[in-house]
């Protein structure tokens, strides 16, 4: 039965009954993979295979394979790290913050957005691990493990170590949050299946029986996890920004970084959710669940966070001038007019100007425009991190040390590897897991309505 309200647009369109929800979502899992899915999956796996050549070369030879030099010691690696972590912020924001604010529209998109979060964080975490050079020893450098040097412990004053704790906590808590939500839906698939599928989804569903007492605890767990995940998601990008802000490099040493990074993370995360959702709803015919209303609301979040990011860029520039510190002033003038001017102005165009187009209702309710702008935002956010990292480093304190950064094939290949990994995981998820949270969508079918369709 479906809810239609005389005052609001329904969250799910098409007059769906509870059984329709089950059918529409579960048929993706139960049906044979389509040709389109195979094509997409094989493309992603191909990119993954191609990129793994660069990854293996980097692991074998060391990070000398990358274009880093003694002046620019962080470049594409950390840019990609921050970019992927940023993308990984939308999922938990949608499922946790919107849950606390009782935004029921989140129910159709939270599952896929959280999956995206988890995969993006995996891609992100790869970069600092490879950047350690000898990742097989990395556990000793990153974790407080007893060792034969004393024990000589890790440095708890270092923001890089805080990042280890932040990213690993974020990853594991997001994973648990996502899995708890999946359990009832796995049970739905189990109860529709026979044979091997029943065994597999039966194990995945942890023996879920839908008892009222379990649902009560489930709701309690979801609420507390949301309450924990909300400060967590804000803390993660705050700590990522500390990697820069606590240093003494002109261009990094800024107190505005934490809120500015968090806004940027939500901005790019929502853009990536839109990119993936527009494809998913089309391929899996889920237009009644991920409606134009969802797309419009996400576009509104993009305008807000994009504007915050824009104000942050301008504030940074103003404060550099106002501080009266010559090195700081130079760093910012150099960003806009130095050898990396093209990166700076790409960032400004993609992140500050283009999302403002969403003020026009025609544009923010157009699928094509939203899809294109979501790509533009993600390109812009990559340039933002590149600009912050490389332009602040490439003019060292001594002009004799000034340098440029040129990526090598290994830089590009490792970045490609993460794309391959991300999309391979996402396509596997989209095929074998229910992409929409059936139980939660069912719970909002009626409660937001004043009329019931049987």
């Amino acid at each position: 039965m479906q809810v239609t309200s005389s005052v609001r647009e329904p969250l799910v369109t098409g007059g769906k009954s509870y059984h329709d929800v089950t059918y529409d979502v579960a048929r993706q899992v139960e049906g044979k993979p389509t040709k389109l899915w195979f094509l997409a999956f094989l493309t992603a796996a191909g990119v993954l295979a191609l990129g793994s050549i660069a990854l293996l070369a980097t692991l074998w030879e060391g990070i000398g394979m990358w274009g880093l030099n003694k002046t620019v010691g962080w470049a594409w690696d950390i840019t990609n790290f921050v970019w992927w972590v940023g993308i990984g912020h939308a999922g938990t924001l949608i499922s946790a913050v919107l849950l606390l604010f009782r935004q029921k529209w989140r129910t159709s998109i939270n599952r896929a957005a959280e999956a995206m979060t988890i995969f993006a964080v995996i891609c992100a975490a790869m970069f600092p691990v490879i950047h350690m050079g000898r990742p097989w020893l990395g556990a000793y450098w990153a974790l407080p493990l007893p060792n034969t040097f004393g024990s000589l412990w890790v440095n708890f004053n270092s923001p890089l170590l805080w990042d280890v704790f932040a990213i690993s906590t974020y990853f594991s808590v997001s994973l648990v949050f996502w899995y708890i939500g999946l359990i009832p839906d796995f049970a739905t698939i189990r109860d529709r299946a026979t044979g091997l599928r029943k065994t597999i989804y039966g194990a995945l569903s942890f023996g879920w029986d839908g008892a009222a007492k379990t649902w009560m605890r489930y709701e309690s767990v979801s609420l507390i996890l949301a309450g924990l995940a909300t400060p967590l998601v804000l803390s993660v990008h705050t700590i990522v920004s500390f990697d820069f802000a606590t240093s003494v490099i002109p261009g990094w040493h800024t107190t505005i970084f934490p809120p500015y990074f968090v806004a940027g993370a939500i901005f790019s995360g929502f853009a990536m959710v839109l990119t993936l959702m527009i494809i998913t709803r089309k391929v899996f015919k889920l237009e009644d669940y991920i409606t134009m209303g969802h797309i419009e609301l996400m576009n509104i979040v993009i305008i807000i966070t994009g504007s915050i990011v824009g104000i942050a860029y301008i504030t940074e520039f103003f404060i550099a001038w106002y501080s009266g510190v010559a090195a700081e002033q130079y760093a910012f003038i150099n960003r806009a007019t130095g050898p990396y001017w093209w990166a700076y102005w790409s960032m400004m165009t993609c992140n500050v100007i283009s999302p403002q187009l969403f003020w026009f209702k025609k544009i923010r309710t157009s699928i094509v425009a939203t899809f294109l702008l979501s790509l533009v935002v993600n390109i812009g956010m990559w340039f933002e991190r590149f600009v912050i990292i490389v332009t602040s480093l490439h003019r060292d304190y001594l002009p004799s040390s000034w340098a440029m950064f040129y990526p090598t094939w290994a830089d590009i290949g490792v970045y490609l590897f993460t794309f391959g990994l991300f999309f391979t995981l996402f396509f596997l998820f989209a095929k074998f897991f229910p992409v929409i949270n059936m139980a939660e969508v069912k719970s909002v079918l009626k409660s937001s309505s004043d009329k019931v369709h049987k």
Binding site: Y18, P159, G210, A212, M216, R217, K442
Partner: protein, 176 residues
């Protein structure tokens, strides 16, 4: 649970009918074994008379444990076991210990609470749940009544009560 158990099941289509039905059935003296739903029905735990879940308390305690462990670890390592001056700061640079303490708090609170949830609700990959009706995870709410717990009331009478409370079907179910 080895003994034979026989249940009477009331199947409901609508969550609001279900909520009134639970009140009605309990009001007529029938003890409900449990109600099974495809999605969380708000208010169902109240009409069933369940006490509030104590999981938030578990989360709080595990969170406290995380904070204390993190602070103890950091003070021990940085101040006592191998003191070093870093950045001109005190050995015990308390503000620097906050981020890791916060993350450990969240980590232990989340995992501890979920662990307690799994154990208390008997959720595990090898669990063999008693499935009363395959449609419970699809679109039907099922009220299960254990005959053994309601020996004072005749079975036919219970079925009568279920029907009049709005159940679309009344079925029998037995488990080995």
């Amino acid at each position: 649970m080895e003994r034979d158990t026989h249940f009477i099941l009331g199947v409901y289509d609508d969550e609001d009918v279900l909520l009134h039905a639970v009140e009605k059935v309990r009001g007529s003296g029938v003890k409900i074994h449990e109600v099974y739903s495809p999605y969380p029905v708000h208010g169902l735990e109240h009409v069933l008379g369940y006490k509030r879940s104590r999981l938030p308390i578990a989360a709080f305690l595990f969170g406290m444990l995380g904070t204390s462990l993190a602070l103890t670890m950091q003070f021990y390592m940085m101040k006592f076991d191998w003191p070093m001056i870093i950045g001109g700061k005190d050995y015990a640079a308390f503000p620097d210990f906050i981020p890791v303490s916060f993350e450990m708090t969240v980590l232990l609170a989340a995992f501890g609470m979920v662990g307690v949830f799994m154990v208390s609700s008997n959720l595990k990959p090898w669990a063999q749940p008693r499935i009363f009706d395959l449609r419970i995870t699809d679109d039907k709410h099922v009220m299960a009544i254990d005959i053994a717990n309601n020996s004072a009331i005749e079975v036919e009478k219970i079925k009568e009560i279920l029907k009049s409370s709005g159940a679309t079907e009344v079925n029998n179910k037995s488990f080995e």
